[in-house]
């Protein structure tokens, strides 16, 4: 089940003009197939969420995109460059998962150091401002909270002034307020037309902050499109209504209904075509009331598409 808004490059061919082009990407770790053939083209200016459960291959894909891991097969281009060249030229900035700060260096030193290593960095103060850590500049990294550390790492990723920002589970150690602050900072950055790819397993973040969602599972892309499209990929809406005198078999017989639950006169109908269902429902049961129609959330799509039962609560 794959829907695409962008035409992915055919394997072996790497699209020109793309911010990111992955073609036929594969990576094995011993017996484990971490990435089992990924084709993905991201256009400049897109904000893309790489969404999937833990172990789906998100981090491996990100590592290959950054040249930290060499693919077994396939090609990676970042703005037409090899990953290492993209890193060296400051085209790509990244926030990796876990660690990656020196406890005994201050925030300003850490960001300043990374800036000094790059060829055309933005001013350190600007990076600190954008990441919302200017007031922490003189603090040692070892004395930061989890959320503060993440924002400092965001500043580290920003300071090379990249065209593409890659974030691997950026909000994983943050509380709700920290997360909101982080995404505000991110949004301000993407408004300047930069391309962002972020890996996450928070559906809400993908839903709220990405233009495009790439769902990945067991090393493969299982859905790719706008939030609305991915949601539609599991199709359907849910109709809830109080239907006096109805029985489950009767309701299941209505047009467009795929699944019925009836409890104490209250029906929950999963529908492929909710418009047809509602028309027929009202014709058959004129005193049906409290009718509610909802579309399936991305969460439903996520569960349906990544469907490994023990992954979900």
């Amino acid at each position: 089940m794959t829907t695409r808004t962008q035409q992915a490059g055919t394997p072996g061919a790497v699209a020109s003009g793309a911010a990111v082009a992955l073609a036929g990407l594969r990576k094995h770790y011993g017996e484990v197939r971490a990435v089992a053939g990924i084709d993905l083209v991201i256009s400049p200016g897109e904000v893309v969420a790489l969404l999937g459960p833990n172990g789906a291959g998100k981090s491996t894909t990100v590592d290959m995109m950054l040249g930290l891991t060499r693919p077994d097969a396939g090609e990676v281009r970042v703005f037409g460059q090899q990953p290492r060249d993209a890193v060296t030229s400051g085209t790509v900035g990244a926030m990796l998962q876990a660690g990656a700060l020196l406890d005994d260096a201050t925030v300003a030193e850490t960001v300043g150091l990374v800036a000094a290593l790059h060829r055309a960095p933005m001013p350190v103060g600007e990076a600190l401002d954008r990441a919302g850590v200017a007031d922490l500049a003189r603090r040692r990294c070892g004395r930061l909270s989890g959320g503060e550390k993440q924002r400092v790492r965001f500043a580290v990723a920003l300071v090379c002034d990249p065209d593409l920002l890659v974030l691997d589970e950026p909000t994983v150690a943050m509380d709700v307020a920290g997360r909101r602050g982080f995404w505000q900072a991110m949004h301000a950055y993407t408004e300047t037309g930069r391309t962002v790819l972020f890996a996450t397993h928070y559906l809400e973040e993908a839903e709220n902050y990405a233009d495009r969602v790439v769902l990945i599972r067991a090393g493969r892309i299982v859905a790719d499109g706008s939030v609305a499209q991915v949601r539609a990929a599991v199709s359907g809406r849910t109709v809830r209504a109080v239907v006096p005198g109805a029985t489950e078999p009767a309701l299941a017989g209505l047009p467009g209904v795929t699944n019925v639950q009836l409890r104490a006169g209250r029906a929950v109908l999963h529908c492929a075509d909710s418009d047809a269902t509602v028309r027929a429902l009202l014709a058959a049961y004129p005193d049906a009331h409290d009718i509610e129609i909802t579309s399936a959330g991305l969460e439903d799509a996520f569960l349906a598409l990544t469907g490994n039962p023990e992954e979900h609560r």
């Binding site: 890193v87 790509v92 990244a94 990656a100 020196l102 406890d103 030193e109 000094a116 060829r119 090379c160």
Partner: protein
Amino acid sequence: MNIKYLALETRRVIRAPRFLIFTVGFPVVFYLLFSNLYGNQGGAAEQAATRAWIMAGMAAFGALTAAVSTGTRIATERGAGWQRQLRLTPLSGGAYLVTKALVGMLVSVGPLLLVCAVGAATGVRLDAAAWAQLVIGTWLGLLPFAVLGVLIGQLSTPDSVQPIGSATFMLLSIGGGLWFPPELMPTWLNRLAHVLPSFWYGGIGRDAVGHQGVTMQTVLVLGVWTVGLALVAARRYRADTARV
């Protein structure tokens, strides 16, 4: 080579309490302790000679500790994911290792000069040439140990690096005759000591206070050690990056 990177790395090392206490403080304390225990025997000339000898040993010990332990920080930084972060910058892995060795050389200046200053303040008298040989010669002789520190940092884990590093500089400094004269060693140990780079390294300072120059053999042995250790470190570095 990135100067700002070198400067930050150096600053990080020298402001760490552990560095100030163990690497700079200890050699000074030991010099004062030993020179008071053994430096009051015989006439004035003999006293001065003994103090000079202890000073040379402790200065070399402090500098060696500084050089080796700086490189061992590599293991900790790898464990913290910092190396991965650096790989997202134009800094090459080779430049990272070379910087670490250079930082080891730079921070060793601290204990080396401090022990010598305390020595001069407590009655050690040497002529200019001897001071120059003691300070500059000893410092240059540190090169293989700075490289050794890098190699230990590459080979060990964050958990194991501390004991491995400490054991290395303790054994090297004892075997190298920095704590007591090689002439007092049992014959077998004395023979073994000649294989160690620290024996020749310590010899630079010992010869300086004994009014002898640096022999060609010393330069040669330390040079061979440096090149050998650097080759192993480079090989290890290539293996590390190939595994990516």
